[in-house]
Amino acid sequence: MQLSEKHQEYWQRNLRMTAVLLAIWFVATFVVIYFAPQLNEIVIMGFPFAFYMGAQGSLIIYVLIIWFYARRMNQLDNEYGVQEGEE
């Protein structure tokens, strides 16, 4: 089993995407928590911002991250010809 250059590229792109999504996850979680007392000064629709993020906003971002990853990776599989056949 020899990996072609194309295979290497697929893996590199996967790693890049993983890193970017992980960075978004990190900001949506830990940066927001760290600055929570300051961010709570901003109030939107009755919600202090950091409270809203902890209760709902970050959760929505998590769902979107996973949705995007699944969709994009499944596309990449086809693009690089490493998709699975129908069983």
Binding site: L15, P37, M45, F47, Q56, A70, M73, N74, E86, E87
Partner: protein, 702 residues
């Protein structure tokens, strides 16, 4: 899978579960009508309990199997969306269903660590583990460790860690089953435990993963309906908006306003609160004075005479303290209880509030500028410690989520890598539905308590208050300490578990909805217990027996051993739960730290770093687990530890924050000081990285 294609199978499932959901709703409506016609609540409880357990058993019996692949991974043909629901039920335990909203009610922002931690972990599952484990395609998590690191030692460490994490967790679930059964039907806790156990066993015993999967889907549907209906109702009642997750913003503002009023002694409500707090302060002082008198008597050698005098004064009750130490402990508890009521109301949305030292210093006319500055610094320090612990706990819960074997195992059951990725999305989506509702529920109930209960007269308390304080004083206790006949917030003591269970009554819904909520809690606890028991039994039967003791064992024998172990483990867990061990909540939290420290580094580096090898995995897993356990032992009182031993003031529940980095360092250092793994292992890593390769090896287990 010859006769039915995957898409036909999916259509069939959709039809069954739509029909099932309709049937469940019809069942609830029929019970509601019967209730109106005079069916007593006790019967409604029995019917709910009996009908749901019979249903789960029925699915279990219909899914019985003698096929190894069906038993361990449900034949690997569970469609992404159904695997998502099953994972949701597997994931959401009694603690999520019943406890979470209560924690948020009591702790406000600081309770959100659980909401964030238990959802954000799925990002890690999606990005680092699920697709790769699916491609690897065996039966258990120790399987992966054993193959990737080429040895029985990594596999054995994996088995031990999986059992430690899962067992503490399953005991908590069975405990929850006992409590709910007892409350729903009025039978004793111990019998409730074993009744619930029977429900768990009929599912998993006959059909393994296959039965558990289809039961969990059914359980998810019940639990999400049960959670949503009362919240939506309450939201409509207070805001006219049927989407509580949006509507509670305005309610939160009203809550904040009321909090300010309670804390401002110049308003009527604030003055009443101040008088109640002063009464509690007097109570605290009186108990502390008595403790001082007791200490004096003991020091003078007249402790026993003092005890006798106190007993006589109290009118010789049977439950009076037998020793001076017990008397002191009882008084200390009363003093601390009263002390907890003397402070101002903490604001719901405020993050990492300090100790309030500054406000106290400012209120003191004798305080100098320096005193105030010192108090301010003290507040800042307390707030920083809270923030540090919050971050550490969120991290441990997230990484722990991505390391718990009973969750990871579920991604072996999808038909393909593609579906595994989609399935993580559906898993989090279904979990998210409940988790992003819990904060709304907490605020809505808080508003109800602050606006309606506070200020009402003791002569005419709402019915739900009277009912619940009669059931269990730890859940609801209310005393008129300042004797003004009016309820003040400081006079109410609420236990966290009350919030979800009492919401139907608070919202003025009929008893049948209370029964449904209890059935939802039961579904949450049973489904999680099912998944955990299967994980433990599979680790023992597949990894220990089949892979290490007798690799030539026949299929029949493997399944017989697996089922036998399942029953033994279940009985042992039920026995442990029936002893009502204390500290159960701590142990559940600890399971996340342990899983995070033991599994995460070795699993992730196993996929993302080809150089990781046998020695690295052994060193990393042992070091991670070791550091995590060591920290818990030196800091947690249950193990004889003391808080003074804490590093950076991190609470023992977040011990994984130390174990995890040590685990990563262990894998890296251990790998670098020994030989690179063989070519075959490197090929295995490539194999899991690509969903499909030409000339690929095959690692799927049969």
């Amino acid at each position: 899978m010859t006769a039915v294609t995957q898409s036909q199978f999916f259509q069939q499932l959709k039809k069954y579960y739509t029909f099932y959901t309709g049937g469940f709703i019809a069942f609830v409506i029929v019970l509601a009508i019967l209730e109106q016609m005079g069916l007593p609540p006790k019967w409604i409880g029995f019917i709910f309990l009996g009908a749901t357990i019979a249903l789960y058993a029925g699915i279990g019996i219909m899914s019985k199997t003698a096929d190894v692949s069906e038993y361990y991974v449900a034949g690997r043909r569970v469609p992404a969306i159904f695997n998502g629901m099953a994972t949701g039920a597997d994931w959401m335990s009694a603690a999520s269903f019943i406890g979470m909203a209560g924690t948020l009610y009591l702790a406000g922002y600081d309770g959100l660590a659980f909401v964030l931690g238990w959802t954000g972990g799925y990002v890690l599952v999606a990005l680092f583990l699920a697709p790769y484990l699916r491609k690897f395609g065996q039966f258990t998590i120790p399987d992966f460790l054993g193959s990737r690191y080429n040895g029985n030692l990594p596999r054995t460490i994996g088995v031990i860690a999986a059992i430690i994490c899962s067992f503490t967790y399953v005991v908590a679930q069975i405990y929850g089953v006992g409590i709910i059964t007892a409350r729903l039907t009025g039978i004793e806790f111990q019998y409730g435990v074993f009744l619930g156990l029977a429900g768990i066993l009929v599912c998993s015993f006959l059909g393994g993963m296959r039965a558990v999967t289809w039961t969990q889907v059914a359980q998810y549907i019940i639990l999400i309906i049960a959670y949503m209906i009362p919240v939506v109702w309450l939201s409509v009642a207070h805001t006219g908006n049927p989407v509580p997750q949006i509507a509670y913003g305005q309610v939160l503002q009203q809550v904040t306003q009321l909090e300010n009023e309670f804390n401002n002694a110049e308003t009527t409500k604030g003055a009443a609160e101040a008088s109640a707090r002063a009464a509690f302060k007097a109570q605290q002082d009186s108990f502390e004075a008595r403790i001082a008198a007791l200490d004096e008597a003991v020091a003078a050698g007249t402790g026993d005479a003092f005890l006798e005098a106190q007993r006589a004064e109290a009118g010789n009750p049977d439950d009076f303290a037998a020793t001076t130490d017990a008397l002191k402990a009882a008084w200390k508890k009363s003093a601390d209880g009263a002390k907890g009521k003397t402070g101002p109301v903490s604001a719901h949305a405020t993050a990492f509030a300090g100790k309030g030292a500054e406000a106290k210093a400012r209120a003191n006319p004798d305080a100098t500028e320096a005193d105030i500055a010192a108090a301010k610094a003290e507040d800042q320090e307390a707030s920083n410690i809270k923030r540090r612990n919050f971050i550490a706990l969120v991290l441990c819960l997230m990484v722990g989520t991505a390391s718990l074997p009973h969750i990871l195992m579920r991604y072996y059951t999808t038909p393909s890598v593609r579906d595994a990725r989609k399935s993580v999305f559906w898993s989090l989506f279904f979990i998210f539905l409940l988790y992003f509702t819990a904060p709304a529920l907490a605020v809505l109930v808080k508003f109800e308590v602050y606006s309606n209960l506070v200020g009402s007269s003791f002569a005419a308390l709402p019915a739900w208050v009277a009912n619940w304080s009669a059931v269990d004083a730890t859940l609801m206790k209310i005393v008129d300490i300042n004797l003004d006949g009016i309820v003040q917030l400081a006079e109410i003591t609420i236990g966290g578990d009350l919030i979800v269970l009492a919401t139907p009554e608070i919202a003025g819904l009929p008893y049948v909805i209370s029964g449904m909520v209890a059935a939802g809690g039961l579904a949450a606890a049973l489904s999680t217990a099912d998944g955990l028991l299967l994980t433990i039994a599979n680790a023992l039967s597949h990894d220990v027996y089949y892979k290490m003791i007798d690799p030539k064992a026949s299929t029949v024998r493997r399944l017989a051993i697996s089922k036998g172990l399942l029953v033994l483990v279940a009985l042992f867990a039920a026995y442990t739960a029936s002893l009502k061990p204390g500290d159960i909540l701590f142990l559940v939290g600890a399971a996340f730290s342990l899983a995070a420290s033991a599994f995460f580094p070795a699993l992730v580096l196993g996929v993302f770093w080809k150089r990781a090898n046998y020695l690295g995995a052994v060193v990393g897993m042992l070091a991670g687990l070791g550091v995590c356990m060591y920290y818990m032992v030196i800091t947690y009182p249950f193990f004889g530890g003391v808080a003074a031993n804490q590093w950076f003031s991190i609470a023992p529940i977040a011990a994984g924050v130390f174990g995890m980095p040590i685990g990563f360092i262990g894998v890296i250092v251990g790998s670098l000081i020994s030989k690179a793994p063989s070519l075959e292992i490197q090929q295995l890593v490539d194999h899991v990285r690509y969903p499909n390769l030409v000339g690929d090896i095959d690692t799927r287990a049969t």
